[in-house]
């Protein structure tokens, strides 16, 4: 369980980090919290020749609220998200999900940037980013650009990041006050990735669903936005028949892998149940 040899770099600025990654090319990996990468290196499933540690890059840190938008630095840890008053007030669903990621020790290290940019279908934050309509700011040899979360995920571990590019911050529009939210995650034990999980953000008006977005975790090689399922509940009071319809519409786009978490049929089935539970709990929490 000893990783292969590598050279360690610790740039002090974003420009230095980007230049290092560009110069070192495919042999280099950025190091954020390291709790996905280091275990892979210990198994020798990842053998980067260079690690570029981003911890000293001040530009990648911090949570800033701008009224209708919250900007979260990529190196913000899950622990910092959980402790943030700004996030508690404006984006409570992020705290609900962060508390379900791994365990306390891992959350002190694991970053939101690593979670969303790694492209691991098991990561929890990507589906939330899609539901919330987040934008990712990327920086690389070609300069700075913004990519919507909905266009970022292309396959397992395959994202819109170009070689040498890193995610620097995430910009999230603040949902309306009184919105309902829920992240329902089925997992075998603390620390496990989701067998299936569903994120819901919705608003209600006069007892009926006015707006709704549904995201799915670990039910496809990328996170999914279940648009048909969300459309099926708009204008309804989430009666039993509607919930079933939404679950069926969500299941129709799921294509999970069969693994130790269960066969495909099981994971789709519980995926539908997560959608129904998340919808009900989100609606119950609206103001």
């Amino acid at each position: 369980m000893i990783p292969g040899p590598f050279s360690y770099h610790r740039p002090a600025s974003l420009a230095d980090a980007v230049k290092l990654l560009a110069d070192l090319g495919d042999d280099a990996r950025p190091l954020a919290g390291g709790h996905s990468l280091v275990p892979m290196m210990k198994l020798r499933l990842a053998t980067p020749a260079h690690l570029v540690d981003l911890h000293d890059v001040a530009d990648l840190k911090g949570i800033r609220g701008y009224g209708d938008t919250v900007v979260i630095g990529a190196m913000t840890t899950q622990h910092e998200l959980l402790a943030s008053g700004e996030i508690r007030q404006t984006l409570p669903i992020l705290q609900e999900a962060a508390a379900l990621i791994a365990d306390p020790q891992v959350r002190y290290c694991g970053t939101i940037g690593g979670n969303v940019a790694n492209g691991d279908p098991g990561n929890d934050m990507p589906a939330l980013m899609m539901v919330l309509g987040a934008n990712f700011r990327l920086n690389g040899p070609g300069g700075e650009r913004d990519v919507p979360a909905n266009e970022f995920y292309q396959g397992a571990y395959f994202t819109a990041l170009e070689p040498g590019e890193i995610l620097t911050s995430i910009s999230i529009p603040v949902p309306p006050a009184g919105h309902g939210y829920a992240y329902e995650k089925l997992k075998r034990k603390v620390g496990d990735y989701a067998t299936a999980a569903a994120a819901v953000v919705l608003t209600m008006a006069g007892g009926k669903v006015a707006t709704c977005a549904i995201g799915l975790t670990n039910l496809h090689e990328t996170p999914l936005l279940a648009t048909d399922a969300a459309n099926a509940v708009i204008g309804t009071s989430l009666d039993a028949a509607t919930l079933k319809k939404a679950a069926a519409a969500a299941e129709a786009i799921m294509a999970p892998a069969a693994d130790a978490r269960g066969p495909v049929e099981y994971r789709k089935h519980v995926g539908g149940i997560m959608v129904m539970r998340a919808l009900q709990r989100a609606a119950g929490g609206t103001a």
Partner: protein
């Protein structure tokens, strides 16, 4: 592979060493510093036996490179006793409440519980169970570990430790 010079403050003492970048913090602590209280359990970031306090965070030292901890302040279980050598409230709690059997997980349990009580001085049983969820124990069934931490919290808060009704 060229070695890197690192310095850290460990249990209040300045230490230094030469490490390969791939040296894990737990190996630096155990082998270079000869502080073998920090245990290597699963080596896969699951069990928490290697938990140490790094700049006010509980981390699994099998999943951090020693070079990442360069310049940081670390507490290991060897740094937990009171300055006069008597047991700290947490150590006393584990002893009095039988919070260990084989003892292998105990250094990690104590280091994690230490940070938990720093952040939440009066945790509920649920807070303790969630806060300790990154540490595995195969002996106790956790009941007495929870009691040990409740005992320590009570002692640190200068209140009498009361067992919850069964």
């Amino acid at each position: 592979m060229a070695k890197t010079h690192v310095t850290m403050k460990v249990n209040g003492a300045e230490v230094e060493g030469l490490v390969e970048p791939r040296t894990l913090l737990v190996h630096f602590i155990r082998e270079n510093l000869q502080l073998t209280g920090t245990h290597v359990g699963c080596e896969t970031t699951h069990c928490g036996a290697c938990t140490v306090d790094l700049d006010g965070m509980s981390v699994k030292s099998c999943t951090v490179f020693a070079v990442q901890a360069n310049g940081s302040e670390i507490i290991t279980v060897e740094g937990m006793a009171n300055p006069d050598g008597t047991l700290s409230a947490l150590q006393e709690g584990f002893r009095m409440m039988h919070g260990l059997q084989c003892g292998f997980c105990t250094p990690g349990m104590i280091m994690r519980a230490h940070r938990l009580l720093q952040e939440n001085s009066s945790p509920t049983e649920q807070d303790i169970r969630m806060g300790m969820s990154g540490n595995l124990c195969r002996c106790t069934g956790y009941q007495n570990i929870v009691r040990a931490i409740q005992y320590a919290a009570a002692k640190l808060n200068n209140v009498e430790f009361k067992e919850a009704a069964e």
